[in-house]
Symmetry: C2
Amino acid sequence: MDNRPIKDVGENRVVSRFRVLASGTLGSDILVGPGDDAAVINSGESRLLLLACDMMVEGVHFRWEWASPRQVGWKAMVQNLSDIAAMGGEPAAAVASLAAPGDLAEDVAAEIAEGLASAAAVHGAALVGGDLVGSPGPVVVDVAITGWVERERLLLRRGAMVGDALLVTGRLGAAAAGLAARENGLEEAESSLLGEAIRAHHEPRPRLAEARAVANTGKVTAMMDLSDGLADDLPRLCQQSGVGAHVRAETIPIHQACSLVASRVGLNDLRMAVSGGEDYELLLTCRPGAVPEIEAALSDLRGAQAIVIGEIVEEEEVIILDADGREMALGKGFDHFAGPAAERGDD
Amino acid sequence: MDNRPIKDVGENRVVSRFRVLASGTLGSDILVGPGDDAAVINSGESRLLLLACDMMVEGVHFRWEWASPRQVGWKAMVQNLSDIAAMGGEPAAAVASLAAPGDLAEDVAAEIAEGLASAAAVHGAALVGGDLVGSPGPVVVDVAITGWVERERLLLRRGAMVGDALLVTGRLGAAAAGLAARENGLEEAESSLLGEAIRAHHEPRPRLAEARAVANTGKVTAMMDLSDGLADDLPRLCQQSGVGAHVRAETIPIHQACSLVASRVGLNDLRMAVSGGEDYELLLTCRPGAVPEIEAALSDLRGAQAIVIGEIVEEEEVIILDADGREMALGKGFDHFAGPAAERGDD
């Protein structure tokens, strides 16, 4: 037991305690409980049921100065759609809860709902219900989503094998660049790339088609979505699989907008690309020999690529190696990426 | 379009706009969308999938002075379990999102999770995942739940027919009495009834077994749970069914604890029993001749009763008639119930 505040003990520790408590409730029909992008429930029928949720809080996950109500609703739904994609599944029905102060304009609430509904409709999901409650605090949007996946297409974070190739489905860092552009007051009208970055931040796209395409190959050993960024997410995939990963920095595909914004605000673009989240590209592993098949599966989809960025290793470590073979730490220890330029950017 | 704040236009109007937006997303696999206790999704298999959500906000739905973190988690889960019960279903898996300020003690967060998990486990549901996010505002707990129901057992709010008997499954007002006891500083140690009322408010029980028992008869025409109180909920059932209801005041079963607390705080107990929500008893309709069968189905369950409180009528009006046959308005117009005693209680 610990009476220290969450901010001191860290989110991960609290989440671990939650998972222990939740694990005591899992019956034999729960094939995957907490810890993956979505839970997997045996429906007793041919398809498995998926269930996930994601919450967004005003002032933490979005600001009204930067995002329109419609974008907030859109993004809240896309986060959840992406969780279904990450399992190899197809979205079915979603519900959304909205906590709002009484002085929020009716139109703002309705526009959030419009964003939720349109993101659902565009991606083949239904918005089937919700809850609207008053709150003295910030606007909170929470979405929960169900999906279906055939047993043979189900992809988990666990499953990566030593020697597997590690891939991403597209360039990284555009969403982080959009956020940095907002934070640094860069105008989207300045260049089409800046506009692209800002849209990537506010109006992300779930990789549902990409996920189905790679799941259909039957060759993917593990998969997840990059919602928190490679630096945070790759260790999670490795931990669930009981393996480690070596990533080659020069192979990480950095989005052009990320390089542009990074140079404008004086940050390292590689650091921005791997630390910044919300790209919603897929991170996946397969036997090295299956890479061409994954590439072929994605080749029909506009904008999708299969980019090998490293390999799965036995040692339970996640390491990025620079062009000279030097080790660079990830995640919290990722400060090694920060050069003098980054120091300036922190001003 | 309307730029007035939600508090001026009213929750119902905003919810109506949400439902119009959501209805545009519903495909043929959604058998019931927004507007019932849970949505109903055709899984393409023998059982139908149910999905619902309910959100609780600190300072609005609970106060830390009155409720323990465990009770907050328990109640958040029970609200959702009750939604599954109301459809005649069985709960399956739930996810919970928690927004919490960084200075919330780790133990408080863990105890909320403990309440969520224990309410799920006790009632045969699994807590399969969630989201923990920081917030500058009040603690927000949102739960979404899935359940299964056989097509022939599914019960909706729509379905009540003119001439049907209107029933509740137990005494009303205990939870409202518990809240009033808290608000008026009555101590639960004072009497066992007060303790019962306060427990009813903080640790409600979903009527899952009761719901299955009545669903098994095949004789229920419409059903919902009493989460907001008879005065608010009965008009919803009637609206969905396109009918009205006449309720006989003297037949409304008032919980003893409600009568005790009402007299202590100078309020009308009937008003408290029908306006106060969170009893989670079931409200249901059946042909008058089927009442004995409903009674028999509930007779094996401790504490459950089938109490006829009125009948379904053609006129789309919801009216409570007093012993002298005088009309008493419901819901927002329910002030007719308030006597001089009630005025004192409002001080």
